[in-house]
């Protein structure tokens, strides 16, 4: 047999190949990767040091991600991973253009959409019509100069520049947000367009609204769809009645080996209230 095989462990080989590919990149590309992997002080490193640090960061990032993967996710990743360069191309991803066309930054409308990620977190994105936003920014600028900004700081607990997300817990999914059982507020900036919200309770329903707080009033700009948070756990604990047939079957199910986070109702977080509209 022609001894062409380089007998080294794949992780080592993979790191070496990544280093080789990094050697081919320009300084700008390397720095973009360094930013992506949040390396400290890349500007103070020599090129070799930077390559080494980026290669190490890529590897650590991969190991960390893979450690959190469930089996189906781990196997699916293998379907798409078939060349080493694929690991590096993420640095350029967001700047890729299709025939000089890029995704619109705005759709020139005002809306807010809520997506449930898991029983504990939801993702919300919003957009505010650009012309309205300009007027709002002007209002806020004048409000900042006004004495009322001190009151706002007291109300929100932090400095506030005009916009807030309100998270409404609803008694049922068809309820109006004005009938919320409970509402809490997250101050956001004009330049924010999305947020991850830590949901205080499971087994309930939420919607969000985006509100503008001007010098004179709180104005609701848009209200989202409703999401229903699942229970995130068994309907009742097994040990409540271990001899019941359903619980005897469940005890054979090896629930502790089910790769699922369980949730229970917790004390609400971010309890900041806005005054009534």
């Amino acid at each position: 047999m022609r001894d062409l095989t380089v007998v080294i462990a794949f992780p080592t080989m993979r790191r070496n190949m990544i280093r080789e590919r990094l050697q081919e990149l320009t300084g700008e590309q390397l720095h973009r990767l360094a930013d992506r992997y949040e390396l400290d002080s890349p500007g103070e490193m020599t090129r070799d040091e930077l390559i080494e640090a980026v290669a190490e960061a890529i590897n650590e990032h991969r190991l960390e991600r893979e450690a959190g993967n469930d089996h189906p996710v781990a196997v699916q990743e293998k379907k798409y991973e078939f060349y080493i360069d694929a690991v590096l191309d993420g640095a350029e991803a967001r700047s890729v253009e299709v025939d000089d066309w890029d995704l619109p930054e705005q759709y020139n409308e005002t809306r807010i959409v809520l997506l449930l990620r898991d029983p504990s977190w939801a993702y919300v994105y919003w957009e505010i019509n650009e012309s309205y936003l300009s007027r709002l920014a002007e209002d806020c600028a004048s409000a900042d100069a006004d004495e009322s900004s001190e009151e706002e700081e007291q109300e929100f607990g932090i400095e506030f520049d005009g916009l807030a997300l309100r998270v409404h817990e609803l008694p049922h999914p068809d309820a109006e947000y004005s009938k919320a059982l409970y509402t809490f507020t997250i101050p956001v900036q004009l330049e924010d367009h999305s947020w991850y919200i830590n949901l205080p309770k499971v087994g309930t329903h939420y919607c969000t609204s985006i509100v503008a707080h001007t010098a004179d009033c709180v104005q609701t700009l848009a209200v989202s769809n409703v999401v229903s948070v699942p229970p995130g756990d068994l309907e009742s604990p097994i040990d409540e009645n271990p001899d019941a047939p359903a619980n005897r079957v469940l005890s054979l199910t090896n629930l502790d080996r089910m790769p699922v986070e369980t949730y229970s109702n917790r004390m609400p977080q971010r309890l900041i209230s806005l005054p009534d509209e």
Binding site: M1, L4, V6, I8, F10, T12, M13, R14, M17, R62, D70, H71, P72, V73, V75, Q76, E77, K78, K79, Y80, E81, F82, Y83, I84, A86, D89, G90, A93, V96, V98, D99, W101, L103, L115, R117, D118, Y125, H172, P173, D174, S194, H205, N225, V226, S228, P230, P231, G232, L234, E235, S236, P245, A246, V249, L250, N254, M258, P259, V260, E261
Partner: protein
Amino acid sequence: MPNGYLLLVMHAHLPFVRHPEHHWFLEENWLFEAISETYLPLLRVMERLETDGVPFRLSISISPTLSAMLRDELLQQRYLRHLELMCELADRELERTSDDERFHKVARMYKRLFAENLSDFVEKYDHNVLKGFDYYSKRGKLELLTTAATHAYLPLYQQYPEAIKAQVQVAVDQHRKVFGKPPKGFWLPECGYFPGLEEELKDQGLRYFFSASHGILYGYTKPENGVYKPTRCPNGLAVFGRDVDSANAVWSSEEGYPGDPSYRDFYRDIGFDLPLDYIGDYIHEDGIRIHTGFKYHAITDKSDPNKRPYDPDEAARTVEAHAENFIYNQKKQLKKLGKIMSEPPVITGPFDAELFGHWWFEGPQWIESVIRKLHAEDTGIEMVTGAEYLKQYTELQEVQPAFSSWGNKGYSEVWLDSSNDWIYRHLHKIVERMIDLVDRFPNESGLKRRFLEQAAREVLLSQASDWPFIMRAGTNVTYAVRRIKEHVKNFTTVYDSLSRGEVSTEWLTSVERRHNIFPDIDYRVFARNARRHEYSSQPKHHT
């Protein structure tokens, strides 16, 4: 009556990747690897079982994007070119390894594998491997299921019943067209379920679907039989919940069978190992090293940096032992369950089809061995498909399943995190605009209709769960981003053109040629519907 049933379901899916504008396209290899390592080997397993008179029941969900690619002439020709290249490499590998019997033995295995693939692909299936699956389906040994049209992760579109309906209806229509009859079962992409989804499935004539374990176990009523008997949604649709233990045994490379040191290692591949002057013709033409499928090492102990040569005979012995172990454990579990349950329990094992062969090289052999042992030994276990089971057992407990998936921690974090969350504002917007287009152009024909049909295709293609998945995985991100942008751009071009009343047939023809999936799509599948309210009122609280 058996002591219990075994329901093995494999989900075969790849995103629609077809690039006629390039003479060679890297990501098309996803399909080629899957045909070579999974689909053809699985068909050979079924063929051997049938030849030997061994009864079996399997279920396979074939995604509409995959079935479209498997039937596509361009991709069939490209796969043939790929196979011929692999056969040539197999010959060169026989020569290269001739001095070392340990590696030569493996090279002979690859020579056989690719020769069989070539012969089966060309002669047996006339370039279309779907014919093989269809054959076993018609023989009653294989139940074919479908999944969402482009494998959208449905919980993240639940506020758009029109999008859910389009994903389900287009899938069912395509299945009927390809296989001549409608599917009874539906594979939820990534097992992603949200309450209310069953309404769309029922509307399309589906009878059951599969769920992650906790979709049932953490449902709004405690299931009396856990996941060992299907339950029914309030609208009557049956749900089979995934078994936890058998899943871990087969999926896990840590604690399960695929990680055994004697099995073939996935990572070591001559595409990475050998010098470019030897392997250059068989990898990417720009010199990018890729997996070739020629792997010569066993997994070996993780602490050992030097991997042992792979020994197919040793691996085959391990396959037998693992099949034995799997059946032993199922028998034990069924015996315990049988003492509590009034009907024979059913163990539901849903898997990614590409797990078998592509990731776990010996996986198809393991399936074959399990089936042969079930037949040869008095195990009391009967294989069953979902439709067969539901024909026999009609009394099911009503349980409203809960939002769930089989992704990390059981919910949506794989498809919704900081790497991919930015796509949804665009993907949702084009759904809204597509609904708007149907409102404005409810009954078009001719050129305008072609534009609307292409718009519908672009919306569907943009929704593939693969794109956010790949962005999170951090590999091939550029390609996934490019695809999202391309579909949004194409849709927007149609939207703007129709709004302005100006259309370019040249542009349309070019996009139709490239994205030629769902040729018979009716764009009105996105017609506004009133299900919004039904979805929102679905969940019931724990008492």
